[in-house]
Amino acid sequence: MNKLIFILAEGFKNVWRHKSSAVSSVFSIYLTLIVSGSLLIVSQNTNKLIEYLRDKYKIEVFFKDSVTEKRVEELTADFKSINGVNSITIISKKDAERIFKSQFGDDILSILGYNPLPISCVINLKKDWPSRIDIKPIISNLRKYREVDEINHQGKLISRIENYYESFLEIMVVIVSITLIIAVFIISNTVKLTILSKKELIRSLQLIGATKSFVKGPFIIEGVVHGLLATVLSFYTIIGVLNFSKYFIYDLTRFDIYYDQVFIFQVLLSLSLLVGFIGSNRAISRFLK
């Protein structure tokens, strides 16, 4: 009991005694947490980003002049059963009129007295495909219908985005793992540097008859305190930057960054504690043969 109090007190005193190395140590952990945290948010938003981009995939189908609105409704009900189709919006003659007006600034009815624009529909694709979307089968499926006149789609854009979808996920995984390895590495190094100047203390304690845990204790507590400080700092940094850029990005692109404060804090905390613990333990053990 007395030993525990002593070890705890020593740990906290050390944070203060080694102020300047504490700053370095906290800062290293802080930087690592910032990087890891950012990656966490990016990866949490990857799916949302993909969905955001896929939201823009649209297939426009124009029907022949002779096709009635009723028939279009039947046809679109058919289309819905095509694999990969999510929803369909019918653009009636009236809607087309409105589009014409916005496009050409003129009212087609007042020009012609009647509406010559064809009925069309916009097909929205399912967004949650597990892998890349291939729209070719959908298109060829649509072409089979006699009533279909023309099909417009941004096939190139879609395949460009989809090309990157899979490799993007892979890259994310690689970057996150590298960052974590680097995190353990840099923290263990900083602690090693700190401990280097305390070799004498460790040796003395051992010669006096201190057990391993008695020697390690204060260092690990010191490391944990550094980790906690870094967690708090990096958490507020990340949230601050997020809050700012969230509105900025939403304003420009209508893309709404998703994040969960509690989850971010938990990840940062467990990361800093885990990595800090492993780091200090590794570093001290070197001097404790």
Partner: protein, 216 residues
């Protein structure tokens, strides 16, 4: 009881000790003399198990060098008070904290620590210097602090390596008398020293080293 049974040790770069035999009974006071580099410090290091014999066996109470487990070494060291040749006072702790450290290792509570340490500082004549850091003490004062640190936990065995090197003749004489008194209470003491004038004719056993061996 300390028993050194035909022990040899050699450093990687050469030097060391060979075929040492020595038994020290409880309450016995033994001096270890010999020229520089003859192996005195090496024997003491073997005794507090900072080094392990390449051959032979060392027994200290119930611990022996052949069967002791690494994590048991701290418990051996808690029974042994060592005065090192190069003091090993901690530079970033003051006199009080340095002397208190062995008590914290043993888990004494705060009041006991304060009482024992103050008493001990008084005894070595350094009261008023509790808050001095090692570099703020004179050579002899540092050496006395090391002595106090070794003795504060009432060890069953005392190993002293040249403890009077920086002490004036009066202080050296007082140290010997103090150690003699402690040894009378049953503590075994092995003390390495160059100060032959100080130790001769006090009636204690003197073991002489030469070139890594005990001279008979």
């Amino acid at each position: 009881m300390i028993n050194i049974d035909n022990v040899s040790y050699s450093y990687k770069k050469g030097g060391g000790v060979s075929n040492i035999n020595l038994t020290i009974q409880d309450g016995e006071f033994v001096f270890l003399i010999g020229p520089t580099g003859s192996g005195k410090t090496t024997i003491l290091k073997l005794l507090y198990m900072d080094l392990f014999p390449k051959a032979g066996k060392i027994t200290i109470d119930k611990f022996d060098s052949q069967s002791i487990k690494k994590r048991k070494i701290p418990y051996l060291r808690r029974r042994v008070g060592v005065i090192f040749q190069h003091y090993h006072l901690l530079e970033d702790r003051n006199l009080f904290e340095n002397i208190a450290l062995p008590l914290h290792v043993l888990g004494y509570d705060k009041e006991e620590v304060v009482e024992l340490v103050n008493e001990s500082i008084d005894e070595i004549g350094l009261s008023g210097k509790e808050s001095h850091y090692p570099h703020e003490l004179s050579g002899g004062e540092q050496q006395r602090a090391c002595i106090a640190r070794a003795l504060i936990k009432d060890p069953e065995i005392i190993l002293a390596d040249e403890p009077t090197g920086n002490l004036d003749p009066v202080a050296s004489f007082e140290l010997i008398k103090l150690l003699e008194q402690i040894s009378k209470e049953g503590t075994s003491i092995l003390m390495a020293s160059h100060n032959y004038n100080l130790i001769k004719s006090r009636g204690h056993r003197i073991v002489e080293m030469q070139n890594g061996s005990v001279r008979q």
